[in-house]
């Protein structure tokens, strides 16, 4: 009998252990998510500024060059034509790619297995003072009249301050996150601007004005709005809202920041409404009665007593709505047009951070700079939402302490 009991209690202990491990599961998962995101994300900075396996070569006469990714883009786009503009010699720039080598020399000269390719590239760079070659390292030009341009690692400051996101540009892809950040912030702030008055209005209606039966109708409607999948919102935005926006504002395309914001506003509404309504509902009856007993109207009571009293809950509602808007992927991807340029108006097409990840990860080969850049974007997103989550928690904690 007693033995039986100890056996049983050992099993109980064991099961308790299992429970406690699963209790820690979410914490473990957060750590894992952090690790995998940041491992890949930080790996980004180990990449060099130009494409892997390639090098840039200039004539040795051409000294004092210190080319940034931005400069390289300008050179290869043909926007800069003389080295003088970049502190170099006074010669016009001549770009030589590996394809050019094949058109200049015949197959025999290069050799069946490209055995002479390296010497040919050397010859080209050495003979043309204004040349810049972009060749695979395997066939790199050699000799005293050729200088290999130093390759830098990608820098955090370039990532954070770069104004251009061109991850597939050659020879130097540009990973400037600013257009994406601006896009994300523009779309989410605009969405919140639309959703907050509407959401708070409905929250006031639900907590103060609606009869029990009206509430019984509204509550499930709001739950349903929260339950509709984001692709469906995106689809609706694509086929209804974006033509509508295009028509009303007479725009060339309907996929704009505004369209995205409208959809996001609808998606953020349920969060804002239910959190704010809860907060207002939790205002003690005594506060309400005190105000009414002094001759205040119901509306005066709402905006002078109930709203200030539930302030922290309302702020939490807004912050959570913001979180929802910033992290939303599919709907935004489908309706904002996805141009990775810094927007100048709400009628510009924009691309947000989550939409960029969703749109590009499929094409970015695992382990390369582009792939890791997308993880870095994930890190940015993760950090923003973590901050939002912690802030909203602190706000609601504070309100508990105060009263």
């Amino acid at each position: 009998m007693i033995k039986n009991k100890t056996f049983k209690s050992i099993i109980e202990k064991l099961i308790e252990k299992v429970f406690s491990i699963s209790g820690l599961l979410t914490s473990i998962l957060i750590v894992f998510i952090c690790y995998f995101l940041f491992k890949e994300g930080i790996g980004f900075f180990k990449n060099s500024t130009i494409e892997n396996g390639y090098g840039l070569y200039v004539n040795s006469k051409n000294k004092n060059l210190n080319l940034s990714s931005q400069d390289l883009k300008q050179i290869f786009d043909g926007n800069i034509s003389n080295w003088k503009e970049l502190n170099g010699i006074n010669k016009s720039i001549e770009i030589i790619r590996i394809d050019d080598v094949f058109s200049i020399y015949s197959e025999e000269e290069i050799g069946e297995n490209y055995e002479n390719l390296s010497s040919k590239t050397s010859e080209l760079i050495a003979n043309k003072e204004g040349s810049i070659g972009f060749f695979p390292i395997e066939y790199e030009p050699k000799g005293s009249r050729v200088t290999k341009l130093p390759t830098n690692h990608l820098k955090l400051s370039d990532f954070l301050r770069g104004k251009e996101w061109l991850p597939t540009a050659t020879p130097a892809p540009l990973f400037g996150v600013l257009p994406l950040i601006y896009g994300t912030l523009l779309v989410s702030f605009l969405a919140i601007l639309i959703a907050v008055p509407l959401g708070l209005g409905v929250a006031i209606y639900l907590s103060e004005l609606a009869s029990a039966s009206q509430r019984k109708i509204m509550k499930p409607i709001i739950e349903l709005l929260a339950g509709i999948p984001s692709v469906v919102y995106g689809f609706f935005g694509l086929v209804v809202l974006s033509p509508f926006v295009q028509k009303i504002f007479n725009l060339p395309i309907g996929e704009t920041a505004l369209t995205g914001s409208l959809i996001l506003a609808i998606m953020a509404l349920p969060t804002i409404i239910s959190v704010a309504e809860d907060a207002m509902r939790n205002t003690p009856r005594s506060m309400r009665e005190a105000s009414l007993a002094l001759g205040a109207t119901h509306w005066q009571t709402i905006y002078k007593v109930i709203i200030p009293y539930s302030k922290s809950g309302i702020i939490t509602a807004i912050v959570l709505g913001m979180g929802r808007a910033i992290g939303e992927t599919m709907a935004v991807l489908m309706v904002t047009g996805n141009a990775a340029i810094i927007p100048h108006s709400i009628f510009d097409s924009v691309r947000t951070i989550p939409a960029t990840i969703a749109a590009e990860l499929g094409e970015a080969p695992s382990g390369e700079a582009h792939y890791q850049a997308l993880f870095l974007l994930g890190c940015v997103l993760f950090t923003i939402t973590m901050i939002i989550s912690i802030v909203s928690e602190l706000i609601s904690k504070k309100s508990y302490k105060k009263y």
Binding site: E289, L292, A293, G295, A296, Q300, Y403
Partner: protein, 248 residues
């Protein structure tokens, strides 16, 4: 003058007040006593229509203040509540500064400009015997006051809009003896200017401060007369039993 004529009040099906008649004179203190759940608060809250806030209730009978039926269709409820102030059982200051708490009623009713408001706040705080204790921290949160101070603040808040009648629902039940006696003194002083109706569970308190006392039981007004008479020589046996503690 307040006059209640054959008042019946229902919470849903529950018959909470059963045919109550009462006349309350100007500038008197009237106390309601009776066992818990007998309907004192319900009756008191009729006079400023606070019961309107509770869903699914019904009122029969008439309730007149200065010979106007306050339940008439044309009556402006907010205006009525301006004239009939109320102090609640638990102190319930707003989460605002002391000054703003007292100024609240003036502001929501658009009564006077800035200087009038600050005058009126000072006057009311003085009338509520709180001025000396708070005059240096008018702009601190009302929550920094003690319970007794908070309750006097609530009284000041009610006084600020110059009501004719002040309803008090067990205003001292959450307070310590010293704060209680302060409030009692206050009520005594306020009688000169206001008509006061107070619900209390404390028999000595009713005896000390009121001119008339009404004894309620199970939704009925058992007896209503001079306080002295109620406590020394009541007509009804139930009253006698209750005040001598033989109730039950």
């Amino acid at each position: 003058m307040i006059q209640a004529k054959n008042i019946h009040f229902y919470y849903g099906n529950y018959h909470a007040l059963k045919g109550i008649n009462m006349i309350i004179d100007k500038n008197t203190v009237t106390a309601f006593i009776g066992p818990s759940g007998c309907g004192k608060s319900t009756f008191l809250r009729l006079f400023n229509r606070m019961n309107d806030l509770i869903e699914n209730t019904k009122l029969n009978g008439e309730c007149l203040i200065n010979s106007h039926n306050i339940y008439d269709k044309q009556v402006d409820v907010d205006e009525l509540r301006k004239q009939v102030g109320m102090v609640f059982q638990k102190p319930n200051p707003f989460p605002k500064s002391i000054f703003e708490n007292v100024a609240y009623g003036l502001r929501v009713n658009n009564m006077g400009d800035k200087s009038f408001i600050s005058q009126q706040v000072e006057k009311s705080l003085k009338a509520a015997a709180l001025w000396d204790e708070v005059k240096d921290k008018l702009h601190k949160s009302a929550f920094e006051l003690s319970g007794g101070q908070q309750q006097r603040l609530c009284i000041a808040r009610a006084l600020a809009i110059a009501p004719e009648i002040i309803l008090m629902d067990e205003p001292a039940s959450a307070l310590d003896p010293i704060s209680t006696s302060k409030i009692e003194e206050l009520i005594h002083d306020l009688k000169q200017q206001y008509t006061i109706v107070i619900v209390t569970h404390n028999m000595q308190q009713a005896a000390r401060i009121s001119d008339k006392t009404g004894f309620f039981m199970s939704g009925e007004l058992i007896e209503f007369s001079e306080t002295k008479k109620i406590f020394l020589n009541p007509d009804k046996e139930e009253t006698q039993n209750y005040i001598t503690g033989r109730f039950g």
